[in-house]
Amino acid sequence: MSNNPTILPKDAAAAEGKVNVQINGKWYRFPKGTRIADACNSVGVHVPCFCYHPKLSVAGSCRMCLVEQGMPPRLAPGATPTYGEDGYQPIQWMPRAVIACANTVAENMGIRTDAKLCNEARRGVLEFLLTNHPLDCPICDQAGECKLQEYTTDYGSGTHRFTEDKTKKGKNISIGPRVNLDQERCVLCRRCVRFMKEIVGEEVLGVVGRGTHNAIACYPGTSLDSNYSMNVVDICPVGAMTSKDFRFKMRVWFLKSTPTIDVNCGTGTNINIWTREQQVYRITPRQNDEVNSCWMPDSHRLNYKYINAPERLLTPLVKTDHGAPQRPSTWDATLNMVVEQLHSCAPTETAIICSARMTNEELYMVRALARQLGVTKIDIVPRKGENDGMLVSDDRNPNTNGAKLILGKNGSGLAAIRRGIKNNSIRFLIALGEDVTEEAGIEAEDLEALDYILAMSHSENATTKAADVVLPGVTFAEKYGTMINVAGRIQRLNKAIEPQGEARPDWDILRQLTELLGCDCPRVIACPSPMIILEEMAQEFEAMKGLTWGNIGNGGVVIMDTGVTIPLIEREKGKK
């Protein structure tokens, strides 16, 4: 690899703290201590694994990742090593295959993943795993994303030789409120056991029985009821652990996955939304070692039902007269009506309550609207909860930092707005993306006393019911945008499905409204997409300088130092 012939590759690699490894005939350099499996996968050489998970301790028990390994011949005392023309020592291949997950790379090591030795070993292991497997793929939820299925097609043999009776174990066992277990499908990789022990710290799962009767089970008197229990469904390589929520709902190959982020708390857990025909079927965590590792809490994962719920607002609603019922309307008519109404609202008597659940782009448009109206009473609704010491942040708003940056608000002005509504100094309220009767603490009778309420929301709630005009916005699954998490990382939301009904992305509603109100600033009204708004913000805010939709990437970028850390990530880094 080195151009200088006097320097041997081993010395060149050692200078970088690396070692030279030959994988399937090609030489690569890896840092010392890299696991063979990780090394192979990093250069595109696939090593099949059931039990190995990079975030868990090594079990080495599935024996699927057996590879052929070789080292330079051991030298006789006093002998000097010989080097070939390429500067490497010859490799002496070992007669026994080694597991790639537990062994680390070494200087001048040779790895072969396509040798006869490991092909036979893999075929043997797969045959064993299938002997007592029920082969019920047609009714198994994991089919399509099952490692056993994939490896069998990749490395298995086409026929089966096992004609005896299979070992019978428990099926369809409810081991927790959200997870079901099929012991017969299990390949006993014990990922779930290790996850509960090492990541969650609750030893709930264990193995019972001996030999072929080994089975995963909960310890007596316990159940898998942790808020992180559904991660075992994700890491289960086969269909042993299944999600009660997703069971039998949809074949995974029909689903489209969209990488985006979770909006249930300030952590901004990276997720994939799995959708089909504008319907969300499930959410799974997406690996981001700086945010959520490979995990996510069940509470957040299951909070997607509102996206396709009947409570969704599908058309603009207007009250033609005070006290009249709300009627559906068209967008143009509604917006024109709103503009007229807002013109008649005195700015000093108007308040805007917006949300830290909005994206940066939406908040930017909120600011433009407020400026256009001349409203200064504007704030977000803070949401505090308990930090669970894992991934759930005490800040239950996903974009508090964005609101702070763009609006300069953190919820401290909300009390004044509340007082203003109580003492009638505020008579007009614009509620954007918030049900103000909840965390904002405004009572329903106070709402009724207001002269005018404009609400923008994706679902029906107490505020929209009281509103004079309701503008249907969208949920996080239906829009693009960015948010800044508690640790100061800006991350992207991607649109997984189209807006439901006639709902429109919130930023677009706000932009149009601002334009209709008479704004002529091109930096507001000429924005055709959240991506362009982001570029506008990048010019205005120092923290966002140089940001574009593209360079944020799927992993996000840290743009501010908040001093807040995510406990689970800190623990994971501490382990290394």
Binding site: G60, R63, G124, F128, E164, D165, L188, R210, G211, T212
Partner: protein, 469 residues
């Protein structure tokens, strides 16, 4: 030794050399410390406590003593694997989980001469500077556990255990830990897990070599009962004297347990390599029972590969000529039998005569291994019951000739691909039996069986695959 008398009918054979078994079945001998000390017990310990620990290790290394648990790893070398500059506590574990079928030597020691083991352990602990040691005793030795517990108490009362042993400044506590009846607990890392209170799944090596990362993550030396007694013997005799006796590469005495179809089965202590299998079986054990012929020998515990008695073995003389012999001409040391593809292992010789059906013998072994597989890794967990089901079917006459090849193939797929040595232990018998006694297996099979469903379950499943019309 002439002053020692043994119980009637239990006298050692003249060709035996009783060292470790000196007090086994001895007239008037009981497991008490009084008896042991009257016979010179704990004198070696007193001598050792005055030595430097490293000198004891060197002495054991010099003796060439090899472990008696089955693998035959040099004991002294094992002790030196404790990492240099180690700051963690060192533990010593005595593996008294003697569960290899056909092996029954350690049970005599722990039942009849427990202080010999304790003295050996204290010496070994002193050599590796362990202050906490565990005797892991299998569940099937309830009586021995009581005897050992009592012996430990006696030793402590006499200050051979506890604080400042015999004024040497060396502290040691020995704890008796009972197993719960699992073969896999005899595997050293499984045993360590068992002591830690978790499932006795063997650990992966690397990185979990006990001498580096053992009990509670600390360096741990795991030695067999007989090995530890041999350590005492080495220190009694001196390393060089010990090494001078017996086979060059496996010196000292060996305890051989003979079971099966011989006139006088039992345990015999012999100088390693001093006699051949033939001499053992014919001279010491009295040959086959009347009217029968030896057919096969398993030379080192159930997991060793079986040897046919009529098999011609070819060995190379030092001058390069080929010498033909049978199993009866192979000397009884650790290495000679390995040249012919088997192993001397733990010294459990299982003998079968011509009345035995080899498929049935194998089926019995397969049943054992299928039940004792811990279930951690896939090949062993799923392969063992498969082999058992196959051999059962063959024995029941429901097998086809292909099943014999399949049986061997399943064994080949387990061997060398498992976490621990159980993979070899369970597959070697099948590999050897099906190869060496193939004709016996084939004789039980019928080609038509390949077409028949093997059980009600498969018959039921086939209903959906065939058309009735």
């Amino acid at each position: 030794m002439s002053d020692i008398t043994y119980k009637p009918g239990k006298e050692p054979h003249p060709r035996e050399t009783r060292r470790i078994f000196r007090n086994i079945d001895r007239e008037g001998y009981d497991p008490s410390i009084k008896c042991f000390m009257k016979d010179g017990g704990y004198q070696t310990l007193k001598k050792c406590l005055k030595m430097e620990p490293a000198d004891i290790t060197n002495e054991v290394k010099k003796s060439g003593l090899r472990g008696r648990g089955g693998a035959g790893f040099p004991t002294g070398v094992k002790w030196t694997f404790i990492p240099k500059g180690n700051t963690k506590p060192v533990y010593l574990v005595c593996n008294c989980d003697e569960s290899e079928p056909g092996t029954f030597k350690d049970r005599f020691i722990v039942h009849q001469d427990p202080h010999q083991l304790i003295e050996g352990m204290i010496i070994a602990c002193y050599a590796v500077q362990a202050h906490y040691a565990v005797i892991y005793m299998r569940e099937e030795f309830p009586e021995a556990a009581k005897i050992m517990q009592n012996a430990l108490k006696e030793a402590e009362d006499k200050n051979f255990l506890g604080k400042n042993i015999q004024g040497s400044g060396f502290d040691l506590q020995i704890v008796l830990h009972r197993g719960a009846g699992a073969y896999i607990c005899g595997e050293e890392t499984g045993l360590i897990n068992s002591i830690e209170g978790v499932r006795p799944y063997p650990r992966i090596k690397p990185p979990f070599f006990p001498a580096a990362i053992g009990l509670y993550g600390c360096p741990t030396i795991v030695n067999n009962v007989e090995s530890l007694c041999q350590v005492r013997q080495v220190m009694m005799m001196g390393g060089e004297a010990y090494a001078a006796e017996g086979a060059q590469r496996s010196p000292g005495t060996r305890i051989i347990g003979v079971s099966g179809d011989v006139k006088r089965p039992g345990v015999y202590e012999i100088i390693s390599g001093s006699i051949t299998y033939g001499e053992l079986l014919y001279d010491i054990c009295g040959g086959p029972r009347i009217g029968r012929k030896f057919k096969a020998i398993i030379p080192g515990g159930a997991s060793a590969k079986v040897m046919r008695c009529d098999e011609i073995l070819k060995d190379r003389n030092p001058d390069g000529t080929v010498r033909e012999m049978t199993i009866f001409d192979v000397p009884m040391d650790l290495d000679s039998i390995a040249k012919f593809g088997s192993m001397s292992g733990s010294g459990g010789v299982i003998v079968m005569d011509d009345t035995r059906s080899m498929p049935k013998v194998l089926n019995n072994l397969n049943r054992f291994f299928a039940w004792e597989s811990c279930g951690q890794c896939s090949p062993c967990r799923e392969g063992n019951p498969w082999m058992y089901k196959l051999s059962t079917r063959i024995c029941e006459g429901k097998g086809s000739p292909e099943d014999v090849d399949l049986l061997k193939d399943v064994a080949d797929n387990i061997c060398g691909r498992t976490v621990c040595a159980f993979g070899e232990a369970c597959s070697w018998p099948t590999q050897a039996f099906t190869t060496k006694f193939r004709e016996e297996f084939l004789a039980l099979t019928k080609p038509i069986n390949a077409l028949k469903p093997h059980s009600a379950e498969t018959a039921e499943a086939r209903k959906f695959l065939t058309r009735e019309d």
